[in-house]
Symmetry: C2
């Protein structure tokens, strides 16, 4: 990046253009296992037009651009580019409109899930996509995120009805719209969702909201074995109970969470966290079914979260799982797997993961959004210990192999990033040429987050 371009960017953005080493280091990676890569500069646009000008300039000079939100991604999706710039959208954090009567809103890319829900609280509606981190909604769109409530409310793919995207050539386009459905031309909205910043920069998101349910009830149920916990979840889904969350934590993760989040009155054994959203009557009815299924699998009797505070503490502990594992090792990192399977195959796959980590002598806390067939093994390690990392990688390879055999996918919600490019070839090798040709058409100079998801030949 020569001086002329730097001057142009500085003229455009003033102090929102930075080449200081500390800033570049702050935006050099997400919550992933990669070593940081410092981009040449970091820019902080405030408007669609600024994003457009920056991309237009970078496209002209073939300078790579890495879009960056809150940096909570897990697969190396936002690792910097030493020949390019990182574009942090944190100044685009405005809630642009809320239409309570239509259950929809429009936000800029760096509005976070908590910021939006705080804002909406008094309106009786909420944004139901709930990943662990307090992620930016633009970032969540980019990785097609989901989280604990997808079993009831769907994923980013199902709640986004429109986007504003700035294309690599600087064009600003609006896809989709405000209606619940449309058949008007190609579904560009869903092409950008999950494209991890490789096709353009998502700057605005049109979202569907949900009414806050009349009644919310949370409960915890303990199990003697992980298998019986997982089977319980599997049966609840197969029974068709409309549950809002059904989260599994294995023994190891329970121990870690109890320490980290100072949970009381809760045992360090395989556990399911439940949440029911509905009317009082329908919740009671569903709880009865779930309790029965749990009992049949030798689950303990339910422990209820009595009030909002206790409920929030419970879910906060669930959200903090990643950080609780990370805190185990000084300067440690966490390698998180993210496979997702047909519901009937989860028990087999979770069992496999337990066996293999034991065999390899790895500490393996696990959490799962079992309602979706999605679970994570969170493997903590010291990056200076190459051997542990190698074992983790071996385990990950085995898990992917097993998952694909069971008709699962290599990633339920974290995306591909740098980390899973070889796994993507295993799952979708026959599709990658088409993905590549779409990429080349939209981003002729390969400036958008190059090297992520797949390599170009």
């Amino acid at each position: 990046m020569n001086e002329q371009i730097q001057t142009e960017l500085k003229n455009l953005l003033n102090n929102r253009f930075s080449t200081s080493e500390s800033t570049r280091a702050n935006y050099a990676r997400g919550e992933d296992t990669f070593d940081p890569i410092l981009s040449k500069a970091v820019v902080f646009p405030e408007t669609n037009e600024e994003v457009s000008k920056i991309l237009g300039l970078c496209n002209k000079h073939k300078i790579p651009v890495v879009p960056f939100g809150t940096g909570t991604s897990l697969e190396g999706n936002v690792v910097g580019n030493d020949k390019g710039i990182t574009m942090c959208l944190e100044k685009m954090n405005k809630i642009l409109s809320v239409n309570v009567e239509d259950f929809d809103c429009r936000v800029q890319a760096c509005v976070t899930k908590e910021q939006l829900n705080d804002y909406l609280r008094e309106d009786g509606v909420f944004f139901p996509i709930d990943p662990g981190a307090n992620a930016a909604i633009g970032g969540m769109a980019s990785t097609s995120a989901s989280g604990t409530m997808a079993v009831k409310y769907g994923t980013m793919k199902s709640v986004i009805t429109g986007l504003t995207v700035v294309l690599p050539n600087g064009d600003i386009i609006n896809t989709g719209g405000r209606t619940k459905k449309t058949s008007a031309g190609y579904n560009l909205t869903n092409l950008f969702i999950g494209s991890e910043g490789t096709l353009g920069v998502i700057t605005e998101i049109q979202l569907r909201l949900s009414p806050i349910p009349e009644s919310i009830m949370s409960a915890v149920c303990h199990f003697k074995t992980l298998e019986s916990a997982v089977q319980t979840a599997q049966q609840i889904i197969q029974y068709g109970v409309p549950i809002a969350r059904i989260e599994m934590l294995n023994k190891d993760q329970m121990e870690i969470s109890i320490n980290y989040s100072k949970l009381k009155d809760i045992e360090a054994v395989p556990t399911l966290f439940f949440e029911f959203h509905g009317s009082d009557t329908s919740n009671q009815e569903n709880i009865k079914v779930v309790e029965e299924i749990s009992k049949e699998n030798n689950g303990s009797s339910f422990k209820w979260a009595k009030d909002l505070q206790e409920r929030n503490k419970l879910w906060k502990a669930r959200w903090d799982v990643y950080y609780s594992v990370k805190a185990l090792i000084n300067n440690g990192r966490v390698y998180s797997t993210d496979v997702c399977l047909p519901v009937s195959k989860i028990t087999e796959c979770v069992n496999f993961a337990e066996e293999q980590t034991k065999k390899l002598g790895l500490r393996a806390p696990m959490v799962g959004h079992l309602g979706d067939g999605n679970f994570h093994v969170l493997l903590p390690y010291d990056p200076t210990q190459k051997e542990t990392y190698k074992k983790i990688r071996d385990f990950s390879d085995l898990l992917i192999q097993k998952t694909l055999k069971l008709n699962g996918t290599i990633t339920g919600e974290h995306g591909v990033g740098l980390h899973k490019k070889s796994y993507l070839i295993k799952e979708h090798g026959d599709n990658i040429p088409l993905m590549q040709s779409i990429k080349k058409t939209i981003d002729q100079n390969n400036i958008m987050n190059p090297g992520k998801i797949f390599d170009l030949n």
Copy 2:
């Protein structure tokens, strides 16, 4: 299409290649307002490999291909091509697999919604996307269809998790998979859904099914004015009642349906058809809320469909709406509008449609999937009466203009076809260059259903 190509196709397909005028006429258009266009030949492949060979051949010789399912599309999506062939998939009508425990199945493109549901009946699951016609599931995927139950169960976009697609160059690819969610690379599945056969031929569809609810209750409520019926629906949605269907028929349509479907004990006034899916208790609870809202809007007391037979008759009448209107005029056609709006804007738009059709002296039966903000005006006409058609077209233009002003979309579920190309420019002009470039990348010789959705420059 020269003789050599005809010979090659004949060698490949034997009597599943036809150039007879009657066959070509049978597949020359769908249920639309266009004059039939006869393709040079019609082919009936039976396997993915045959589809691949046909496309490969046509691509080499730049021969247009129009994919064809049951021919129930409404916007000219399957009108023939006088320089090309029509590829009818009716021989690809097998249900390939059903996994009840995972609520999923895989079907070939020409399995119809009724065929699938008949097959599934004893398994306790069903396919919940319900357009009026007994359409082919591949066709429903191609137009991103939905219908009466989208308010609860979503659209084709939300129930399809994977596809087999044959690309214009003959490549056979598998997109997505069997899991409820995935973040593995670009969402190609949703690129093909709604692409109306312009990017390739969808030959297999992986679908999510739903458990048959414990209790289903149907009811009918009459209103003095269309406005109060529409407002009732709007309020029910805004209240967040989890209803499975909420269908509006205006006075005119009620008269027509009562005659055509021989309905008894039902008045020819603006009417809402309701259906509730859930447990007995939750249905009772939701019905109470809906009855109250209806009463507040001066609705009649509910009339219940007492048994399955009566319920089926009610919904059969609803499905037959299109044919009931078509039967009004000998050799008549029906021009169906298909706008979809944010729920808060439906009343204004339906009122507008009523006023304008009155002003123009048009007979205007209306039906609406009001839970989604989607409604259709079904305008019958005699194709020899050019003046009526002109008036209808004027009305359609006004309705589209109004819809776009109210943040609506030009098509909720029928697609663009030949009919709405100019409307698509009004809604998504800024997107069309991107759609075109994707089309050109995937279909370099523009053989796939050329001239549909948009023109190429």
